[in-house]
């Protein structure tokens, strides 16, 4: 299994580890619930160095990323970030990712750890421009600071600017604790926060600089366990669980990130056909009405008929009930918001609720 540059730091913090997408990552340091609630109340510090980063540089970079992206990269100006999808010709989702625009000729793509090889092969095989693609995942560490206190904690380390002035989905290249950092106002928790990209050699220094301030603010280091419950509460999909190469954006509620007007991209024709045909499956959020926990793969029923399957499910530490996403047949859910989830051969009641959950 691969390890991030912060592996030893996690060991020192007594992390319990888990395998995720070929990486040995911290699952939790103290407790998933405590870490989750710390992010909601104050702040959490995350090692996300397993994520993949690609640089796309040179003439044609703009046209090239446009061609791959369902969302409109043309809407980006320098210093802005875009959430988007790469789809295959059939409209299936290859990955969901962030695109950072430095300039017209320079972009950074941030992709899911488990998809690095797949994405790289896809991108390289479709490059018909002079743009150069470089996988910088190994050289790049990613540390996230997420929670209502994130701005207060980060600011003293960034003398040259006030980080509260970095708007949502924007980034600046600056220094954090004297370390050259891409300071990105993004996250996967539903809280205010930053994702900090640094050279892998500086990962430990940045973590050690921020850690005491995080602890002093009653924050915590946070593992992938709480990252999963945080993103679920915030209504954010997880690639490989909620979607894969065979699901299209409309089936998982990501249709708003498909911008087809006046532009071409791979998968466009298939997605237009899908939309014309009418959406037969869709993603819903649900809340269990008893204490049972719905998990990935459990069958979802309405009025005794199976209508779909749970994709993500977990207890919500914030709401103190069990929540989840399911993909269900569209026509069934309009009239009635009561469903059942089959858990170990027994039906457990649930209701459809709006997403995000919090």
């Amino acid at each position: 299994m691969k390890r991030t540059p912060l592996y030893q730091v996690h060991k020192t913090c007594n992390a319990k580890f888990t395998e995720f997408g070929g990486w040995e990552m911290p699952l939790q340091y103290t407790s998933i619930v405590k870490e989750h609630l710390a992010v909601r109340a104050t702040v959490g510090l995350f090692d996300l160095s397993h994520m993949g980063e690609f640089e796309v540089r040179g003439p044609g970079a703009n046209a090239f990323v446009q061609k791959l992206s369902t969302n409109d990269v043309g809407r980006l100006t320098d210093g802005r970030v875009l959430y988007t999808l790469f789809c295959n010709e059939a409209g299936g989702i290859i990955d969901d990712l962030l695109i950072y625009r430095y300039t017209d000729n320079r972009y950074m793509l941030v992709v899911n750890a488990a998809n690095i090889e797949k994405d790289l092969a896809w991108i390289r095989s479709h490059n018909d421009t002079d743009a150069k693609i470089k996988d910088v995942s190994e050289d790049t560490a990613l540390i996230a600071l997420q929670g209502p206190k994130a701005i207060d904690i980060l600011n003293p380390f960034v003398p040259e600017l006030d980080v509260s002035e970095i708007s949502f989905f924007r980034f600046v290249v600056g220094e954090v604790a004297g370390i050259r950092t891409v300071i990105s106002r993004t996250g996967y928790t539903g809280e205010i926060g930053f994702e900090l990209y640094v050279d892998a050699n500086n990962a430990e220094n940045l973590w050690e600089a921020l850690y005491p301030a995080v602890i002093e603010t009653e924050g915590q280091p946070v593992g992938l366990g709480a990252r999963d419950t945080l993103r679920l509460e915030a209504g954010l999909r997880l690639y490989g669980v909620d979607m894969n190469d065979d699901t299209n954006p409309y089936q998982v509620g990501l249709g708003k990130f498909v911008k087809s007007k006046n532009r071409q991209f791979i998968g466009k024709n298939a997605l237009l056909r899908e939309r014309k045909k009418g959406i037969t499956k869709q993603m819903i959020g649900f809340q269990m009405l008893d204490r049972a926990v719905a998990r990935t793969g459990y069958a979802v029923y309405q009025d005794g008929e199976q209508i779909g399957e749970v994709t993500s499910g977990a207890p919500s530490p914030t709401l103190k009930c069990n929540i989840g996403f399911a993909i269900v047949t569209s026509q069934t859910i309009s009239e009635n918001n009561r469903i059942d989830v089959e858990i170990r051969s027994r039906m457990h009641p649930a209701k459809i609720v709006t997403v995000p959950f919090i």
């Binding site: 407790s31 998933i32 366990g225 419950t229 204490r291 049972a292 926990v293 977990a314 207890p315």
Partner: protein
């Protein structure tokens, strides 16, 4: 940390015998590994359990874990308080966090379980 008077399974359930009644729970080691227990599913009073077969489920935030019966017998009491307060299993695995009381049919089944020292050795081997 590991109570000497109890018997254990390799799957981390404990059994406490008082005449023909055996109380069942999970060990402190198991609760600390599972953490954040949010749900416990237990059989009803009157259910017949068979040694080493599943009788229930506990769920943490992250995953579900099967529970195995350390001995065979009839369920005569269920710790109903766990339904509303499953965190008792984390807080008090050997006392308030017990699951079931069983009337056993074959006391010799207890001889097949681990004593405290063997269980300690088992944990250390599992953790190594």
């Amino acid at each position: 940390m590991i109570p000497q008077e109890l018997k254990y399974m390799e799957s981390h359930e404990w059994a406490k015998q008082e005449d023909d009644i055996v109380t069942i729970g999970i060990s402190d080691y198991a609760q600390s590994e599972i953490q954040d227990i949010v749900y416990v599913e237990l059989p009803e009073v009157g259910t017949e359990l068979t040694q080493k077969t599943e009788f229930g489920v506990i769920e943490s935030v992250k995953a579900a874990f099967d529970l195995y019966a350390p001995v065979s017998g009839e369920v005569i009491e269920v710790n109903e308080s766990l339904l509303d307060a499953p965190e008792q299993v984390n807080e008090s695995p050997y006392d308030d966090g017990w699951f079931l009381k069983i009337r056993i049919t074959d006391p010799s089944e207890l001889d097949a379980l681990l004593d405290a020292d063997s269980y300690q050795a088992h944990i250390e081997a599992e953790h190594a």
